[in-house]
């Protein structure tokens, strides 16, 4: 498999190697954190099964594992959010017991969660001071603005202390979270999947910051399930699988991605997919010069045109927030189209009732599984009939035939391996992979002739990702047109027949994918386009292009 986009954007390997050497080999510094025999049970799950974990001072230690492997649980215990059922925690050689996050912070452990805990209407400084005993009476904020700016300079965390949180990008908000922890005197920083929300450039910035923090004596635990990132940032790696440690503190340099992957999932994973050659049919989706605005009323699509033919998967590549999600919403009729139009089988679907698309063969796998794609407190049955409850046999006049609905849900449960006690179980109790199977089962069961899938594998573990990829390819086999919007470049290249790259709502170019083994030139070209260079201005040697 190719080296990934993210790898070569990250800090230079040379600098990285130096840090790794000084900290790990020469000095053997004392352990910053030592966790021994940690056990944590949740109802029906042994989340941590006698886990040992060591963090050396001044290292970046990646904690790798699939969803549900127990990495977040372990770190939540370290951060004082959960209490272990058994086991000990030593920080700098001292045994400690945490009964709240406050205790953990006192011991110098700060966790940056995936979902930031910030107050949008307050400034950076106010957010950092929130919950502290200072300032005691008068809000002498200027003084603190200065302190925080200095702290930011020290660690390369550039952010204006007087800005309100809502005005900041996700990457900047993450810096605020880091500053919050540093201000509280954290020596050990736990980052829970910090890159999941970042654009590649921001990832690069984050990695630089982490390196500079480590250089100044901090230690970092980096939770991730992305193999390539781990290889590029971490000094050492520990891997968890189903609550057990499968690799403990292995030097990141000495281990291949395939080895890490098999430690994560316990078997060799085929990252490539089996895509058969196929001649695409006629145009199913035709997007013509579409303009639209985002939720803040700012233009986010500026004259986008593209098409998808029957029997092909067309990928949309781009850094998050460049209009991909809005494009899918315009097509589904969920977002007003200011200019231009989207046609499905020659009939207009933009600015039209969402129901029209649903009743004319469009299926839509939204980005947000829990807030858009499903209804958490309703049963599996209620969730799978969301698109076909208006049609017989589920609908019987104005009534619903509940036995037909249950039968339908039961069939999908078996056909799509949805693991759930009964179809009456509310879907909020389902794991991410299972919920995605529920959504895909619903969307595919209507035999769509067009499907738009937004980030269908985000946050899923390797096994579940394989399943989703297989289902998308089945749609291609069945001559459906598939529009795949993803931030995982490897996924796009593996699945797509063609890829459009968009940047700030504009088309940067179209690339035809031939064979599943893309070369570095192709990856570089897509990377450049994703950061705003149109295809015409890129000189590619030998890479097949058109459009």
């Amino acid at each position: 498999m190719c080296t990934c986009f993210l790898v070569y954007l990250a800090t230079s390997p040379l600098e990285h190697a130096v840090t790794a050497n000084t900290t790990t080999d020469l000095q053997q510094p004392p352990l910053a954190v030592e966790m021994r025999g940690i056990v944590k049970r949740f109802p029906g799950v042994l989340a941590n099964d006698h886990v040992n974990f060591e963090l050396r001072a001044g290292e970046i230690h990646a904690l790798l594992g699939e969803n549900g492997a127990g990495k977040s649980t372990l770190m939540n215990i370290l951060a004082g959010l959960y209490k272990q059922d058994a086991g000990t925690i030593k920080v700098k050689g001292k045994t400690l017991e945490f009964s709240s996050p406050r205790d953990a912070i006192k011991a110098g452990i700060g966790m940056v969660h995936q979902h930031f805990m910030l107050v949008p209407s307050q400034t950076v400084t106010e957010n950092i001071l929130l919950g502290l005993d200072e300032p005691r009476f008068l809000m002498r904020l200027q003084e603190y603005d200065k302190k925080i700016a200095d702290l930011g300079d020290k660690y390369g965390l550039k952010v204006d202390p007087r800005t309100k949180i809502w005005q900041l990008s996700v990457g900047e908000q993450q810096r605020v979270e880091l500053l919050k922890m540093l201000y509280r005197g954290a020596d050990v920083l736990v980052m829970d999947e910090p890159t999941a929300v970042l654009a590649p450039q921001e990832i690069e910035g984050l990695f630089e910051t982490l390196h500079s923090m480590v250089a100044q004596g901090k230690s970092v635990i980096f939770i991730s399930h992305k193999l390539n990132e781990v290889a590029s940032i971490a000094d050492r790696v520990s891997v968890l699988r189903r609550g057990k440690v499968t690799a403990s503190g292995v030097p990141a340099k000495g281990v291949s991605r395939q080895e890490l992957a098999s430690m994560m999932v316990g078997r060799e994973v085929a990252l490539a997919v089996d895509k058969k050659p196929k001649t695409p049919g006629e145009i199913i989706l035709d997007v013509k010069d579409v303009h639209a605005e985002n939720d803040k009323g700012l233009p986010c699509l500026r004259g986008l045109s593209l098409h998808v033919r029957a029997g092909e998967i067309v990928g949309i590549a781009g850094v998050a927030g460049n209009g991909q999600v809005e494009l899918s919403q315009v097509i589904a009729g969920l977002r007003p189209c200011k200019k231009g139009q989207a046609l499905l089988n020659g009939k207009k679907v933009s600015n039209r009732d969402t129901r029209y698309g649903i009743e004319h063969g469009m299926s839509y796998v939204p980005e947000d599984r829990t807030h858009v794609g499903s209804s958490p407190n309703l049963s599996v049955t209620d969730n799978v009939i969301m698109k076909n409850y208006r049609k017989p046999p589920i609908s019987k006049g104005s009534m619903l035939d509940m036995s037909a609905a249950t039968k339908f849900a039961q069939e999908l449960k078996e056909a799509y391996d949805i693991i759930v006690p009964t179809v009456n179980t509310p879907v909020r109790l389902l794991s991410g992979g299972n919920l995605q199977r529920v959504i895909l089962a619903r969307e595919i069961s209507g035999h769509p002739n067009f499907m738009v899938a937004v980030q269908p594998t985000r946050g899923l573990d390797v096994g579940a990702i394989e399943g989703v990829h297989r289902l998308l390819l089945t749609q291609r086999e069945a001559d459906a047109a598939v529009l795949l919007i993803s931030e995982e470049l490897e996924e796009l290249i593996a699945l797509s027949d063609r890829i459009y790259v968009i940047y700030e709502g504009r088309m940067m170019g179209e690339i035809k994918v031939e064979g599943a083994e893309p070369d570095k030139t192709l990856m570089d070209a897509i990377g450049l386009m994703m950061t705003g260079t149109p295809l015409e201005q890129i000189h590619m040697e030998g890479a097949p292009t058109h459009g």
Binding site: G37, F42, P43, G44, V45, D85, A86, G87, T88, T95, E97, A332, L334, D353, T354, R355, Y356, G357, I358, Y364, P366, D368, H371, V372, G373, S374, S375, P376, N377, L378, D382, I385, M386, K387, Y389, R390, S395, S398, M399, L400, M402, P421, N424, T425, P426, L429
Partner: protein, 374 residues
């Protein structure tokens, strides 16, 4: 590990809370609710004992005063009837997370609508009961519906907070009815309208005492049939109809509903109108079954607000609402019999608090552990 166990108080009992990750069996919520009522009665008993009463005697008396014989049972049901309908009204709006707290006003407007048929008069006094009652029911249903539709429309089209608008409409409804009671329809200057003719009243059981002597003195009236039919109809709408499915989906996740192509604006208006109409039907039942004339005070007795509580306690389930309403009817009735008169209100409050608190047990599991030793 010795260090760890030493630092820990050996064998200390710890109570841990864990979110439930599974669905509890069907009997569990019922058992928890019954347990909560039981705990509430014990707590209430303690208070009664402190105020110098005998809790057992008091409870026995309350039970006798509301369920003791067929006569008081019938009175309990009379009290429960309007609550059933207002609680159903609240339940359907709450199901869609529309906080209609205007059932009180919709109830009164329903009563006014029914009265208008008799007093305007829209139908001559000698009209047969088979025409009179359906016409009154329809008018009350419609007036209540209009009173619910107003906040619904404002919410759907202009995003006006329905809590405020429906609450304010309560005051308008009372003033509106006062205007008619004090002025236009006043009977000789009294604050009440003339009595409705018998054929414009809902039949009571006692009306049939001549043929069935057992019914002598029983005040239960045909409004109960409205309540039961409405509950059954609502159950079918919510759990078995396409519309009900849309309501449940919007209530649980409006974004998913929009994504499924459901028209939220239209459903907001329709559900608020249905909610108002059901409360209005409650007003019809009360004015034509109990008061039998238009008069503000007995109609403005807080049935709409009690309906909010009952709807919650019944977890918005239409059939459970009937049972909870009867419990509340009993407490209202006992309120007149027990001294100091605050006691049944207090019990009502304690039951409410316990039931709401017990909801916690449905979402979390308590785990008792002793300090574990490795």
């Amino acid at each position: 590990m010795a260090e760890w166990t030493a630092s820990k108080k050996r064998g200390a009992l710890r109570v841990q809370l864990e979110p439930r990750l599974d669905v509890p069996p069907a009997w569990f919520p019922v058992a928890v609710s019954l347990g909560a009522v039981f705990v509430a009665l014990i707590l209430g008993g303690i208070v009664i004992a402190f105020s110098g009463g005998n809790p057992f005697a008091t409870y026995a008396y309350i039970a006798r005063a509301s369920f003791g014989d067929i006569g008081v049972l019938s009175d309990t049901i009379v009290k429960a009837t309007p609550i059933i309908l207002t609680a159903l009204a609240c339940s359907i709006a709450f199901r869609m997370k529309l906080w209609n707290i205007g059932a009180e006003g919709q109830f009164i407007m329903g009563a006014w609508g029914a009265s208008a048929v008799v007093l305007a008069p829209l139908l001559p006094p000698e009209t047969t009961r088979w025409l009179f009652i359906p016409a009154m029911a329809l008018a009350g249903f419609g007036m209540g519906g209009v009173w619910g539709l107003i906040p619904g429309y404002l919410k759907a089209k202009f995003n006006v907070n329905e809590i405020i608008s429906s609450l304010m409409l309560n005051y308008i409804a009372v003033s509106w009815v006062n205007y008619w009671v004090f002025g236009v329809w006043s009977e000789g200057g009294f604050q009440m309208s003339p009595k409705f003719p018998t054929n414009a009243s809902l039949p009571r059981l006692s009306d049939y005492a001549e043929t069935i002597p057992f019914f002598r003195g029983l005040t239960t009236h045909a409004g109960l049939i409205f309540g039961i039919l409405a509950a059954i109809a609502l159950w079918f709408i919510v759990y078995r109809s396409r519309w009900g499915y849309e309501i449940r989906l919007i209530g649980d996740n409006p974004r998913a509903a929009k994504y499924a192509g459901i028209n939220i604006v239209r459903n907001t208006i329709l559900v608020m109108a249905l909610s108002g109409a059901l409360a209005g039907l409650g007003g019809v039942s009360e004015v034509a079954g109990v008061v039998r004339r238009l008069q503000t005070a007995p109609l403005n007795a807080g049935y709409g607000f009690t309906g909010i509580i009952v709807a919650w306690l019944a977890k918005l389930h239409p059939l459970a609402i009937i049972l909870v309403s009867i419990l509340f009817g009993a407490l209202i009735l006992a309120g007149r019999e027990i001294q100091p008169s605050g006691i049944p209100k207090m019990i009502q409050g304690i039951i409410l608090v316990c039931l709401i608190a017990s909801d916690f047990l449905l979402r979390y599991r308590l785990r008792f552990t002793r300090g574990e030793v490795e």
